[in-house]
């Protein structure tokens, strides 16, 4: 028996670790560092209907224990991703999760439909929470009605399980989670970045060309843990947790809070081997805290509300 294995809708994970969307491209660059077959899954960079060139630079800024980014969903468009990127990742013995985004419900639908034709993608991560898209992304992510609506449409369009990626920039995360669960989501993915800003003193203006950006990294971990813990008490669909993970201990913390899978984003930039290192370390860490398997850790800290 594989002690690290987890079963999620559409995903048979050999371990719960997966690089987070946007922090691993389409895997090519990191495949020079280690064998991607080691990963539980890879979550690809967001796909939109057409190619997007994203925001002007600077697009990143460093903050204490974190960073801000405003990439702006730059990607070659869903067709190019299916043609050129999915086949590359499909060489590896891992699961592929496609992160999908759009400015309109129609665009989400179109992107979801496109992935129906590929056999190599196991699940969709529905990004309703990217704070860097002005046209609509942010409204979808903070309004439960809109979130439910886009979830329904994508569920209907797609033949894949859909994990809805929640934004933490909300007054009531449980309400958002319940809305998308009711709309048919197979799972949740949380959290996306918190909207932040850094001002560059010498120029007296926001450092990022986009002004605001998404805060990620270990700075936000306590917020991610709190939100996952709260949501876990109120929904029955599984959660892929993320936000500041950089060690195997962080992974155990996310599992305890209620995550069934754990994505690693920003930490890949600090250490390109981080996912591989965590996978190597995880068995020892489980043992240290008295656990035999990943499965038994999930939600252990959660007392029902």
């Amino acid at each position: 028996m594989n002690k690290l294995a987890v079963e999620l809708p559409g995903l048979s994970l050999k371990n719960p670790i997966m690089p987070a969307s946007g922090c691993f491209g389409f895997g090519r660059e990191y495949s020079d560092f280690y064998d991607l077959s080691k990963l539980g899954a890879v979550i690809m960079k967001a796909a939109t209907g057409e190619r997007r060139l994203g925001n002007p630079t600077p697009r990143v800024a460093e903050t204490n224990s974190g960073m801000l980014n405003a990439i702006g969903l730059q990607n070659p468009g869903v067709e190019a991703i299916i043609r050129e990127e999915v086949p590359f990742l499909a060489q590896y013995n891992t699961n592929i999760i496609a992160n999908i985004a759009g400015s309109t419900i129609e665009e989400y639908e179109e992107v979801a439909l496109a992935f129906n034709d590929t056999e190599d993608v196991q699940a969709l991560e529905l990004n309703i929470s990217c704070p860097n898209v002005k046209e609509g992304g942010i409204q979808f992510g903070t309004d439960p009605m809109m979130a439910a609506r886009v979830t329904e449409v994508v569920k209907k369009a797609s033949n894949l399980p859909v994990y809805v990626k929640l934004s933490p920039n909300v007054s009531n995360i449980v309400e958002m989670a319940q809305a998308v669960e009711a709309a048919g989501a197979d799972g949740l993915s949380m959290i996306n970045t918190l909207t932040g800003m850094q001002i560059h003193l010498p120029t007296r203006t926001p450092l990022l060309a986009n002004k605001t950006g998404g805060l990620s990294g270990s700075a936000i971990k306590p917020i991610a843990i709190r939100m996952i813990y709260e949501v876990k008490q109120h929904v029955s669909i599984p959660i892929i947790g993320m936000g500041g993970v950089s060690t195997a201990e962080d992974v155990v913390e996310f599992l305890l809070a209620g995550a069934s899978g754990v994505a690693v984003g920003t930490a890949n930039f600090t250490n390109p081997f981080v996912c591989s290192d965590i996978i190597d370390e995880l068995p020892r860490t489980l043992k240290k805290y008295g656990f035999d398997s990943v499965k038994e850790v999930i939600g252990k800290a959660v007392t029902l509300a």
Binding site: Y30, N69, Q74, G217
Partner: protein, 250 residues
């Protein structure tokens, strides 16, 4: 190929105002690196690595020299590191300068902290039998470094913005006075590169560009620059930092 390497610090010295020279030892990097490539340096307590150009390589002693200016927290911490300590780097990163075999005279234009990569390039050019003309721009006298080292390799003109040393003004002010050359190579702040590429429009040239980076390996799309090709952009960390002056839009 980029590797994650541990480098031993052999020496740290302040060679000009707020400018530090650090000599590092690592076999792989010293064997692999070509001029124009950089190291992506992890500094404890910082989420993002710092990109710093390779300023020189010695394959015999397996050493790599970097030169950096103290800008913010990261470079300040790095400057405080001592001989004997180790740093974690990704490298050699980026593409490096293209050297045209047929060229006989090359013009190297470095501005401030864009000067370091020009030194390793100059050494390589001279080794290949080419004549090097170097134009080095600095803020003021106290910021000048490596003038003697460049002079050993060829004609070297130092320019300071305030005229406190060498010529007064910007590197572009004296490009008109330079004799003939085949290809130019430039590294420095974007406004300088813009001025240089304007001034030398139509000439064959390669420029090395700086941008804030996330991953440093081509995965995150933090460091893109608009390009004239079909894709519409280039990644500075992996397609660059060196570009043909004609293929990117500054």
């Amino acid at each position: 190929m980029i590797s994650k390497e541990i480098m031993q610090i052999l020496s740290v010295s302040e060679i000009a105002s707020e400018t530090v020279e650090m000599v590092l030892r690592n076999e792989y990097i010293s064997e692999q690196a070509i001029p124009g490539q950089f190291l992506h340096i992890l500094i404890d307590g910082h989420t993002l690595r710092r990109p710093i150009s390779i300023a020189d390589i010695n394959r015999e002693s397996k050493t790599v020299t970097i030169l950096f200016k103290i800008i913010g927290d990261g470079t300040k911490t790095l400057a405080g590191f001592k001989e004997g300590m180790e740093i974690d780097v990704l490298g050699p990163s980026g593409n490096g300068f293209l050297i045209e075999e047929q060229d006989s005279v090359v013009l190297l234009i470095g501005g401030g902290i864009g000067v370091p990569p020009m030194y390793y390039l100059a050494r390589t050019m001279v080794k290949k039998g080419k004549k090097v003309i170097a134009v080095l721009g600095f803020q003021s006298k106290s910021h000048v470094f490596y003038e003697e080292k460049f002079k050993e390799l060829g004609e070297t003109i130092v320019v300071t913005n305030d005229g406190s040393y060498g010529e007064r003004g910007f590197v572009t002010d004296i490009l008109g006075k330079i004799g003939s050359f085949d290809t130019y190579y430039s590294c420095g702040p974007v406004p300088m590169l813009r001025a240089v590429t304007n001034e030398l429009q139509g000439r064959r040239g390669f420029i090395s560009i700086e941008e804030r980076m996330g991953c440093g390996v081509g995965a995150c799309l933090a460091c893109v620059i608009p390009a004239t090709d079909e894709k519409g952009y280039k990644k500075i960390c992996s397609d660059g930092p060196v570009f043909d002056a004609r293929e990117v839009t500054l």
